[in-house]
Every structure is written in C-alpha cells, then in structure tokens.
C-alpha cells in the first residue's frame, strides 16, 4: 500500500542525537513502508532561503521518494526563497509540495494581519500550508476566519487532536480547507468518529519524523475501523488530490 508522510524533517537530529540526512530518512521510510515523505530542512529555521534550497537539492537526489516543504518566515517575504520576483512568483518557480510556517518559532500570532503575504501567495497557488504547532486558544480563534478568507489555501495542522475534539469536529465540518494529520489523534476512536461525522477527506498521514517514530501512527492508520477507501484517502489519496 502506498503511504505518504506529509510531515517529516531532515537536517536535524534524532532522539539519540544522530544527524538525520537523506540516507537516514530513506532507511526509516523503508523500515515503515513509507513510499513518499514531504520534508522541510531544519536549516530553514535559521535561514529559510538556504534551508529550502538545501531541501530542494536533497529531494532531487531521492529519486522522487522525498518532496519539498518550503519553510517561510513572515518577515522575509520573497527572500524566503531563491530567485527573483514576488513571493508568489518564486513559490511558483520553486514548486514545493507544501509550504510550512511556524508561528511559534516566528514568535508571531497566527492571524491574517501578520501572515498576509504568505497566505495570499498560497491561496493564489492553491498550496497546502502546514502550520507547525503553537496551537493556542488564540490560534483556534483566528483559524476559522483565515480559512474563510483564503479558501484555496489548504491549512494543515500536524501532531494535534488528543483532547481537542471540541475544536477538531467543528473545524472539519465547517471549514473544508482545514486538514489534520492523524499522528496525535488518540482520543478513543477519534479517527473513526471523524470519518463517521464528516468523512476522511480532511485527514492525512504524518509522522513528525525524526522527532517521533512512525510506529504509533501506523497503528492508528492501519487499524482504524473505517472502510478501505477512507484508509487510502488518509494514507495517500487526499495528499495526491491536493
């Protein structure tokens, strides 16, 4: 079965302190039967343009097994990426599978007022935008409006959901461009309940490798008591449709 990991990283260290490069990522993917992983490079947290370029280079060496998530800082605008022209133009040329933002690392609230340039660009290009953590109550106050204001952007929340069902259910029901990875959906029968209420169309497979082993989320996804068509949507089809 095809499995696409939409949330992985390269360029950092694993729990033992060992550097994680392409060979370590590929070995992990093979061990856990993951066919494609969308990664950002941790260097991009220091220098987005350089880190994103490194990621692009590494992905190019992977024979298609690895895709690029371009990490963007709201203060850098077009300078987040190599090339010339506006951020939208550069994103178009850079052609990442997704964009990634980190409101926590950027120390700025997730609100369209502060993230306008990036949100305008991903909306125009219809790109998935992974929002990396810092899911405060303020974040959940702002997300519904951002999703409404930018309907062609696909907002992806990663490693979140346990004890969060009271946010998850309304967001999935009322904002069709908000998605969740299932690696932290550990309320009892949470994936099944979401599928029962709203279908599997807004669920994705993500591992947070190398911070976490893919073994747990494989249990969640492969043993979810849902139809095979919905499992396939979670494991890869939803991402491919995006």
């Amino acid at each position: 079965m095809k499995i696409i990991d939409v949330n992985a990283a390269i360029g950092g260290k694993d729990v033992s302190g060992r550097p994680v490069g392409l060979s370590e990522l590929l070995a992990n993917m093979e061990l856990y039967h993951i066919t494609h992983a969308v990664c950002y490079h941790e260097y991009a947290l220091l220098d987005p343009a350089h880190g994103n370029s490194l990621m692009k280079e590494i992905a190019g060496q992977s024979g298609g097994a690895v895709g690029v998530s371009a990490l963007l800082d709201p203060a850098l605008g077009a300078d987040n990426l190599p090339g010339s022209g506006s951020l939208t133009r550069r994103l178009q040329a850079f052609a990442p599978e997704s964009v990634r933002i980190s409101p926590g690392n950027s120390r700025v609230a997730f609100h369209p007022f502060y993230w306008e340039e990036i949100l305008e660009a991903v909306n125009e290009l219809g790109l998935p935008i992974v929002i990396d953590g810092n899911y405060t109550s303020e974040f959940f106050e702002n997300l519904p409006e951002a999703a409404r204001q930018y309907p062609d952007a696909k907002f992806i929340l990663v490693r979140w959901g346990t004890c969060g069902g009271r946010y998850v259910f309304p967001l999935i029901q009322k904002r069709k461009n908000v998605y969740f990875t299932v690696d932290y959906m550990v309320d009892y029968q949470q994936v099944e309940e979401i599928c029962e209420r709203s279908g599997a169309g807004q669920l994705l497979f993500g591992t947070s490798f190398p911070q976490f082993s893919p073994a747990g989320v494989l249990g969640t996804a492969l043993y979810a008591d849902i139809p095979e068509t919905e499992r396939e949507m979670i494991l890869y089809k939803n991402w491919e449709v995006m």
Partner: protein
C-alpha cells in the same frame, strides 16, 4: 507471519495480547472525549478483538472523581459478565479514607476477577500518604502487581525505590513509561533495572520521543508491560508502537503478554487465563 507482517496487513495479532492498563466507562472531564457509541464494555471488547487483544485489565473511570466503590463494583461486575476478557484492579483512592480503602481491599482480595491494585497518584494525592503505603503493604502480602500512575516525574523514581526497599513481593508497574516524556523514562530506567520487582508500562507515549525499542534497551525486555490507557486513549497508537517496531517477535510477545503473565505467577490474587 511475523507480528510486523500481521500488523502491516491490519490483522488481529495471533500472539497473546493483554492490555494491562485500561479504564472502562465514559470520561468527558477536562477535554477528554471518546466516541460515545463505543464506551460500552461490550463494544470496547469488540474494538480490542480487532487488534487481537485477548483481555483487558481495568480501573473504571468513575475512580477519577473519587468514586472508589462504584469503580471497583463496575470492575467486579464486568469481570463476571465478560469472564476471561475483563479483569480488574482494586482501585485505591486515598481521599476516601483508610477505613473505606481497607474494606475495598478486603472485599476484592480473593475475587478471581481482580489481579492487582491501581493507584492514580497525583489526581488522588501524594504517593507517600498512609493510605497508599497501606495498600502497598497489602500488595506485598498478596505478591500482586500495583499499577502506579506516574506523570511528569511524579511520583519520583526515588519514591518508588523507597517503596520497594522493604517490599520484595509486590510488583510495581510504573505506568506511562515513567511519566510521558523521554527524560522521565530515562530517570526511571535505573530503578526499574535495579529492582527485580519493578516494571515499566508503556501507555500515553504520544509525547515520548523514545521508541519502544529504546525503552526496551533502557529497562530490559523482561521489564516492559503493554498497556494503552483505553478508553481514555485509543489503543491503536500504543499497539502500533510495539507491533510495528523493529523488535524481535520473541521480545514483542514478552511485552504484549509474557511479562505480565510472569509477574502474576506468584500472586495470590486472581490469575489471567488466556
């Protein structure tokens, strides 16, 4: 088929599996949530069968609100209603007072459906309070397991070591990998290794960066007990952490059931019959 092959095929595991850390009944306090149609014990057991789980050992959720007698009564009734599928821990709730605790321990000590004792330290107060110490003495006398809730380093490995210094018969099962995070697991590991009757249970590991194979390296393959915290949590995540790990099947079988069965061998409380 290997356990990994069965897991990648999504099949119930064919090896024995005991979920040694569960809580039946609905629990919607403080943001917790379960798919409501799946909170009845019979439905939980159907869900468990899809993983290949043979039986669960439980401390029902009413104990969180200090409803000790109700929780133990539910465990007793469900163990009778689902023989061989549901076993209970005698849940000890210190705020209920020493007399009520003694009554509960006496009442269920010889009940075949109860295999050990459960402490929800933190929620119910300090590990060193007299009610827990009394229950530890009871468990020592019965040579039974005590499933000890540990979160974020509370209680500490030092407290646990102190409890085991003079009690060589009870089996102290440190829940939540020692507290939910890698640093907690690492701080508990030397104590688990040092004391023959100390064990580490796995559930609630979503924030623990250590994969199961590293926990096994830290505490030893004979010291790891499988549990999931169902139905506070969905069991499939913890199940996956063991089933999909690169550990050998022989080790996985110890974790899934062998180690827990072994620690019950000398217990004078109920036994699990698979």
């Amino acid at each position: 088929m290997t356990i990994r092959e069965e897991a990648f095929a999504g099949k119930p595991l064919s090896c024995p599996v005991i979920d040694a850390h569960t809580h039946i009944c609905a629990y919607h306090l403080s943001g917790w949530h379960q798919r409501y149609s799946h909170t009845k014990t019979e439905v939980v057991l159907e869900d468990m069968e899809k993983l290949g789980v043979d039986c669960i050992v439980t401390s029902p959720h009413p104990m969180v609100q200090e409803r000790m007698e109700e929780a133990n009564e539910i465990a007793a009734k469900e163990s009778v209603r689902f023989p061989g599928k549901v076993y209970g821990y005698i849940t000890v709730v210190p705020p209920c007072g020493m007399e009520r605790i003694k009554e509960q321990l006496n009442r269920y000590a010889k009940h075949p459906g109860f295999v050990g004792v459960k402490f929800l330290t933190g929620y119910h107060g300090d590990f060193n309070q007299p009610e827990y110490q009394y229950a530890l003495d009871f468990a020592d006398e019965m040579s039974c397991p005590v499933l000890l809730h540990v979160w974020g380093g509370v209680p500490s490995a030092k407290d646990c070591a102190k409890a085991l210094e003079t009690r060589h018969n009870l089996k102290l099962v440190v829940a939540h990998q020692g507290g939910g995070y890698a640093e907690n697991t690492r701080s508990f590991a030397p104590m688990i290794r040092e004391y023959e009757n100390a064990y580490m249970e796995l559930c609630g590991s979503m924030d623990n960066r250590l994969p199961v194979e590293m926990i096994v390296d830290l505490v030893g393959e004979d010291k790891v007990i499988y549990g999931t915290d169902a139905i506070s949590l969905d069991p499939k995540y913890e199940f996956g952490r063991v089933a999909f790990s690169p550990l050998k099947d022989q080790v996985k079988e110890k974790i899934f059931a062998g180690n827990f069965l072994r620690l019950l061998e000398t217990s004078q409380m109920g036994k699990i019959n698979l």
